[in-house]
Symmetry: C2
């Protein structure tokens, strides 16, 4: 069901500083920060050969990562995003197995323009999991 680790998301209080640190201390390629007001975040990607690290800074008053940063003011690891080929089938299987989906269980369009769902971290041992639908078998 999980075909690929799309990204690992890290919440940071200052994206410019975090991007500079990843570039300067780790020699990493970091994308230009992109403001996504409809998702309440500014995002930059650290590109590694096999996956991406997503650096997230809150944007606006209702940012979905504001409460996380209130609890972890230095920042921290926020979620893991896995790709699935059929997000509704994945959701149905998860519910049958007893796992909970956050919000209303209806996939929303995520920051990458594809349908996403978030799973309840209590059902996955404290880890927040995002599922993102990526059609096609090229990565499976």
């Amino acid at each position: 069901m999980l075909t690929w680790v799309n990204h690992v998301a890290l919440a940071v209080p200052d994206l410019e500083k975090a991007a500079a640190r990843y570039r300067e201390s780790l020699g990493a390629r970091v994308s230009i920060p992109q403001r996504l007001p409809e998702h309440g975040v500014t995002v930059a990607f650290v590109t590694i050969a096999n996956t991406k690290i997503e650096l997230l800074e809150p944007l606006g008053e209702n940012s979905p990562i504001a409460s996380f940063l209130a609890k972890h003011p230095d920042g921290g690891m926020h979620h893991v995003c896995y790709e699935v080929t059929d997000i509704n089938a994945a959701r149905d299987h998860l519910l049958t197995s007893g796992a909970r989906i956050l919000c209303d269980g209806i996939p929303k369009i995520g920051a990458h323009g594809r349908p996403v769902l978030f799973l309840h971290p209590k059902d996955f041992f404290g880890t927040l999991i995002e599922l993102e639908e990526v059609k096609g078998a090229s990565r499976a």
Copy 2:
């Protein structure tokens, strides 16, 4: 410098339960748990096509993840491990850039039998980073 995301480590209070949840709810392939008393953990790997998720349960009295689980009893995201081709060169570059290495800065042999270092999470916005030396350019 970072050639590959080797794994993302998740601390869990009960590895058998976590492995069952990843298998049953997410359809994931999870390895047989392996006890590593010299590293203070029992480990199982969730294998995704492009990287691994490492599920860690404390083992013994001096487990390096015991304090994390004392703070996060449900479990949580523990660290990201990146591969580098030359860990001493990476360490020297990190120190020059002002980042701190945990312990004495001398690479130790990690759970995969290769030299590893951990970087100070305060210098990386609350994320604990492991570097693991994997020689050769096959993944670069």
